[in-house]
Amino acid sequence: MNSDSRFDIKKLLSNQLLIPFTALIILCLINLINDPSFFQITVGTNNAGNTVFSGSLITILDYGSELAILAIGMTLVTAASGGQDISVGATIAIAGSAMLRVLCGGNTRPDTLAAPIIVGFLVACIVGMLCGAFNGMLVAIFRIQPMIATLILFTAGRSIAAWINNNELPIVPDPKFAYFGGFIPGIPIPTTVFIALACIIVAALMLKFTNLGLYTQAVGINESSSRLNGINPTAIKFISFMILGLCVAVAALIKVSRLSTINYSVIAKDIEMDAILAVALGGNALSGGKFNMWASILGAYIIQFLTTTLYKFKVDSAALPAYKAVVVIILVVFSSPVVRQKLQQFSNKRAAATAKKEVA
């Protein structure tokens, strides 16, 4: 009997979704105590005159969605390469800037779109994938640690983005462009939620109908063995960075759409931290290998939950990273093998002690 219940607890503890759900519950409790109106959803009219839902939860869904999209790619990169891409914020700036350049045709204040939105988006996709390919090349072919390799674009990215538009800040004239990061008239739910849903469905289909999941995990766990089983680890790593590039392009569309313009030094600032945190919070090992995409996506929304909560506590946006850094450290400390082993030993000792007592 006793051992049975212990077994269940063990199983529960080993469940990957334990960490994100615990975090979610803690956050909900904090908000409930602080200010129950946090959970209120109101119906109002926004600037464009649409009837929309608003409230903290809607904000979380809205901003969490862009993070969830990035988390999809980041999970794959983490799993395959055992490292993270820290250039996502900077590449969002590049892709966004390229998109603006195409949509505005080089004018700062154009009257009409220079190209259809879809063309702008496709260009962003291509630019995003090029950035991904660049990172992927350094990691997969030149075997540079992912975080160092992506440090290059992390530094240069925003400069490149500014350079693409000659440091101008063009404004997209078409109000339809604002739909992607806002609301479509008649639909009260943020468009980003639907975009994220689409991305998640694509990811799910990809995992179901290809061997991407198996290959990526195999490469991340044991590269040498995967190679001997006919998998091409270089290609898999490369592909994972390309997929992240696509995710970046989608996130760039949302980010640029929110303002209809861009701010090179601020757009998607520190988002790499949130994306990495989402993966870690989902209980995925940052050293690569096995992954759970859904846990990462859930993690993304919880990170946004945390951010929104911190804002409610009047934390300055520039100070946010300090709090998140503490969360990261707590997470990695508890998932580090050394600490786990120590905890295991401790619990074993306690179990042994109680067993002894029972015998006595």
Binding site: K208, F209, T210, N211, L212, L214, Y215, Q217, A218, I221, N222, S224, S225, S226, R227, L228, N229, G230, I231, N232, G289, K290
Partner: protein, 503 residues
Amino acid sequence: MEENRILEMRGIEKSFPGVRALRGVDFSLNKGEIHALMGENGAGKSTLIKVLTGVYSKDNGKISMPGAEDIQIHSPQDAQNAGISTVYQEITLCPNLTVAENMYIGRGKGVITNWKKMNEDANKILRSLDIPATATQQLASCSIAVQQMVAIARAVDMDCKVLILDEPTSSLDEQEVEKLFGLMRDLKSRGVGIIFVTHFLDQVYAVCDRITVLRDGTLVGEYAIADLPRVELVAKMLGKEMDDLADIKGESAGYQGDIVDDVVFEAEGLQSDAGIKPFNFYIKKGEVNGFTGLLGSGRSECVRAIFGADRILGGKVKMHGKEVKIAKPLDAMKNGIAYLPEDRKIDGIVGDLSVRDNIILALQVLTGFFKPFSKAKAQAFAEEYIKKLNIKTASADTPIKSLSGGNQQKVILARWLLMHPEYLILDEPTRGIDVGTKVDIQKLVLELAGEGMSVTFISSETDEMLRTCSRLVVMRDRKTVGELSGDDLSQNKIMETIAGGEG
């Protein structure tokens, strides 16, 4: 403690998750003796040595040395301070440092490195031991054999009381081995106790005074060299009379089909970047052959070249007489070649994945990226082979890393059998696994051959190869030096061929 004792270990216990590696092992070493520590792979030799050198800490037991009852060794540093030095089979030096630094780093007191004195001292020792290296050379620029000797020079200079040589000869040629033996005798005369671990019986009888035999983590016994003839030593190591195993071959009659002469695979002048000389090789349908030679002779590199695991530099490869191109493992797999790699941990298992995923991996890759098996199908495959090979696992969902070595090996074997290969290469399939599984695998090999599969079998244990193979390719210094079959298949003949044609 007896007067002449320099080291005594009593009741040493050590467990790893799922394995009891050492069960109450005793070991003692006298001043000025060379003591062989023998046992099959997985017998506990390495664990015992790692306990003694502080790499692992023992769960139980006592280690004593003169003047220090029950000394605690928790790190290699502790071992060094106690006067215990080790030279491992794999080089444990830093390739980015100079030869002299590698000899002196991590020792002695003081904070400052005196380069001039260090280089002079190092050169003196290198010269006195006749080691072809200079003190200021970067270690990475020395050959493996020289690196090995630098490691020994380090130990010698440390004035150690106990010197452990863990398979130091596997990458040395004969002359170098002789030089090493000279060195060992020299140290012995200075009163150093030497623990010598090796796989080569000849070397044991050439240089050792006493033998301790371990099997399955327990002590079999301690013997003076004169009291233990070779055959008995082997029997003690295996834990059974030789006859038990001798007959496996008789049980299966071999492949009985018509086209026995069909050459399944043929290589001409095949060469890879792993440093082997171009070699020729062929295998017929239903044949079991093998590559033999010492560790480092190039036998693994040959089969890796066949499978396209290393970069291929040249040569022609034919399947059934038709020329094919094998540049990477996937090419080989498409041609029906399967390869069970030598190092299970590094090249074989995908640790965190389940037994099921590990089993289906090769076939899945072969089937294609866009055609994943359904869950039910994968499960069916896994269950079929778990049953067929008698794999002991809680379920198909268990991560492979939590299985025992023998069962892990069976999973990898299942992975390749699932592919239904025409030609199966097994590189050291029996290394580090229990005797029962070893026999299972040998039987399986013969069974598969009986069904018409061609198998290349490599093992460090010659008798295993003699039991299974009908033809042996002998290798020395990374090239093939002979081929044995029929009546030539005997331990002696193999030894002679490996040693180089005095027969």
